[in-house]
C-alpha cells in the first residue's frame, strides 16, 4: 500500500486576481490533515486541484497513487468529497441520492448508511429542498461516508452550521477516525473544528502555505512570554520571535520555537518572566498570518 495518500509538489495555479503559489505537502495514509486559512486563502482551489476539478498550471498532484487530473476518474472511486458549495438535487429525496450513490460505489455500506440516517435524524423520503442547511450537509456527509472511501476530503463542511449540528458532524468525523486506514483532509477557517479532529496542520494564506507541522508540535513550540523589564534591561532577542506586543517595560513576546532555556536566558538579561502562556491553534494561526503578512517571518 502507498503510505502517502496525497502528495502536492510545486503546484501553482494562476488567476487574474489570485495565484496559488508553489503548494507542496504530503498527507500520510491514516492521518487527518487540517487545512486552515482565511477566506480566499486558496483552500478550496487546492482541494479542487486535489479532486481533479481544476487543473494546475504547474506541479504534480498524486492522490491515492493516481496522477491528477489525468487519472481523476479512478482516484475518485476511493474519495468521499463534501464541500460547502456542493448541493444535492433539490427535487430528489435523500433515499434517491443514497440509491444513486450505492449504484456507483461497490463498497457502499447500507447498514452504516442506515445508522447514519438515524444519527443525523434524516429520513429517506425527505426531499432535499425541504431540508435545513445543517441537514443538507449531513445528507452530503452520509453519502460520502457510507461509500467507505479511503480518502475523505471535506472543504469547509461545518461552515454555516449551528453549534449543535456542527458538533454532530464533528462527532461523526471523530468516529470515522477510528479506522486507521482512513485518511482525511479537512479544510476550515474555524480553527476550533480543525483542532478537535486533526493531527496534522497546514496553514495557508494568500495562496501560499505559510506553515505546516503536526498539531502537537504547533502547540508545543508556540508560546507567549510575558516579561517585566527593569529600567536598564534590554529586550531579549531570540530567533523565532514573531511578535513583540505590550508596553515598553511589560513586553509580550510571541515565539514559534519555544524552548525552556529561553526563560533562564531572559532572566540573565535582566528580564523577569511573569508567565509563559500556551496558545490555542487559533492564536497560533492569527499570529502566524499576521507575522507573515507583516514580513516578520522569513
Amino acid at each position: 500500500m502507498n503510505s502517502i495518500s496525497v502528495r502536492f509538489e510545486g503546484v501553482s495555479k494562476h488567476y487574474p486576481h489570485f495565484t496559488l503559489d508553489n503548494i507542496g505537502f504530503e498527507l500520510p495514509t491514516g492521518s487527518i490533515l487540517g487545512f486552515i486559512g482565511p477566506n480566499g486563502a486558496g483552500k478550496s482551489t487546492t482541494i479542487r486541484i486535489l479532486m481533479g476539478l481544476i487543473h494546475q498550471d504547474q506541479g504534480a498532484v498524486h492522490v491515492l497513487g493516481r496522477s491528477m487530473p489525468a487519472e481523476q476518474a479512478a482516484a475518485k472511486m476511493d474519495i468521499g468529497f463534501v464541500s460547502e458549495d456542493m448541493r444535492l438535487y433539490a427535487a430528489a429525496t435523500v433515499g434517491w441520492h443514497m440509491e444513486f450513490i450505492q449504484s456507483i460505489y461497490p463498497r457502499w455500506d447500507q447498514s452504516y448508511a442506515a445508522s447514519l440516517l438515524q444519527r443525523f435524524d434524516l429520513k429517506p423520503q425527505q426531499r432535499i429542498r425541504g431540508l435545513s442547511h445543517g441537514q443538507r450537509v449531513k445528507a452530503a456527509l452520509l453519502l460520502a461516508l457510507a461509500r467507505r472511501p479511503r480518502l475523505l476530503v471535506l472543504d469547509e463542511p461545518t461552515t454555516g452550521l449551528d453549534p449543535v449540528a456542527r458538533q454532530e458532524v464533528l462527532g461523526e468525523l471523530m468516529a470515522v477516525l477510528a479506522d486507521e486506514e482512513r485518511t482525511i483532509l479537512f479544510s476550515s477557517h474555524n480553527t476550533l473544528d480543525v483542532e478537535q479532529i486533526s493531527d496534522q496542520i497546514v496553514f495557508i494564506d494568500r495562496g501560499r502555505i505559510i506553515d505546516a507541522d503536526d498539531k502537537e508540535s504547533f502547540l508545543d513550540r508556540w508560546r507567549r512570554l510575558r516579561l517585566v523589564l527593569s529600567q536598564d534591561a534590554v529586550l531579549p532577542r531570540f530567533s523565532g520571535i514573531v511578535d513583540v506586543a505590550g508596553s515598553g517595560l511589560l513586553p509580550v513576546l510571541t515565539t514559534n520555537c519555544f524552548e525552556p532555556r529561553m526563560i533562564s536566558e531572559c532572566q540573565e538579561m535582566g528580564a523577569t518572566v511573569q508567565a509563559v502562556d500556551t496558545m490555542t491553534l487559533e492564536e497560533i494561526f492569527v499570529a502566524n498570518v499576521q507575522s507573515r503578512r507583516g514580513g516578520k517571518l522569513v
Binding site: 479542487r48 479532486m51 481533479g52 476539478l53 481544476i54 487543473h55 498550471d57 481523476q72 476518474a73 479512478a74 482516484a75 475518485k76 472511486m77 474519495i79 468529497f81 464541500s83 458549495d85 456542493m86 448541493r87 444535492l88 438535487y89 433539490a90 427535487a91 430528489a92 434517491w96 444513486f100 449504484s103 456507483i104 452530503a140
Partner: protein, 224 residues
C-alpha cells in the same frame, strides 16, 4: 470511456427531468395524432405543435441538465463522482439527444407517413421537410454545444434565439431555391443536388459541433 457510468448519469438526468420528458412525449403523440387524423388543417396545426414541442423540449432539457447543474451548484456533486469530463460530456449529449431524437424521429416519420398515405398532400414536399427537420436538429445541437461549453443561461438563451432565427431564415431560403421549390407541390420526390448538399451540410455541422464540444470540454482547466 466508462459506459456504465455514462448510462447511470443519463438515467439520473432522465429521472430528474421525468416531468418535462413525459410531458413532451405525450404532447408529441398528441401532435402526431392531429397530423394523422386532423385533415389538412390538422396537418399544419399538428406540424406546428410537434415543431414547438421539439424546440421546447430541446431547450428545456439543455438548460435544466447543463446550465442549471452549475447554477444550482450540483456540478461539484456530479464531478466528485468517479467520472472524467469525457463521461460527463457524453452523458449530457447522449441523454438529451436520445430524448430529442425520439420526438424528432416521430416528427420525421409522422410527416413522411402522412405525406405518403394521403393522396391530397404533396409527396414532393419530403426533401423540404427533411431539410427543415434536420435544421431543428442542428439548432438543438447548437444549444447543447453552447450550454455545455459555457454553462451559462444567457449564452444558452442566445443559442436558442439564434437557432430559431436560423430555422426561419433557412426555411425561407430553401423554399426559394428553384430546384427544391419546383418539386414541393409535386406528388413524387425530387432529390435535387441542392437539397442533398444542404442536408449533407446540416449533418456535417452537427458532427462538427458535437466534436467541438468534446474538444472544448477537454481543454477546460476549471471544471467547476
Amino acid at each position: 470511456m466508462n459506459v456504465a457510468m455514462v448510462k447511470r448519469l443519463i438515467l439520473k438526468d432522465w429521472y430528474l427531468q421525468r416531468v418535462p420528458i413525459i410531458g413532451s412525449l405525450i404532447a408529441g403523440a398528441l401532435a402526431l395524432s392531429v397530423i394523422l387524423f386532423g385533415g389538412k388543417p390538422g396537418f399544419i396545426l399538428g406540424l406546428i405543435l410537434l415543431v414547438t414541442v421539439l424546440i421546447g423540449v430541446g431547450a428545456q432539457l439543455a438548460v435544466a441538465t447543463m446550465v442549471f447543474e452549475r447554477k444550482e451548484q450540483t456540478l461539484p456533486f456530479v464531478m466528485s463522482l468517479p467520472i472524467s469530463y469525457k463521461e460527463y460530456t457524453a452523458s449530457k449529449i447522449l441523454g438529451n439527444l436520445i430524448i430529442f431524437l425520439i420526438l424528432w424521429l416521430a416528427l420525421l416519420g409522422g410527416s413522411f407517413g402522412v405525406l405518403a398515405i394521403s393522396p391530397d398532400k404533396p409527396f414532393g414536399l419530403i426533401p423540404f421537410v427533411a431539410i427543415m427537420a434536420t435544421e431543428i436538429l442542428v439548432s438543438t445541437c447548437l444549444i447543447y454545444t453552447v450550454a455545455l461549453i459555457t454553462e451559462h443561461q444567457g449564452w444558452a438563451i442566445g443559442a436558442i434565439i439564434t437557432g430559431n432565427l436560423a430555422l426561419n431564415g433557412i426555411g425561407y431560403y430553401v423554399a426559394h431555391i428553384g430546384s427544391i421549390a419546383k418539386g414541393m407541390e409535386g406528388h413524387s420526390i425530387q432529390w435535387s443536388p441542392a437539397a442533398s448538399t444542404i442536408l449533407a451540410a446540416e449533418f456535417l455541422i452537427i458532427v462538427l459541433m458535437l466534436g467541438l464540444t468534446f474538444l472544448f470540454q477537454s481543454r477546460k482547466k476549471d471544471f467547476i
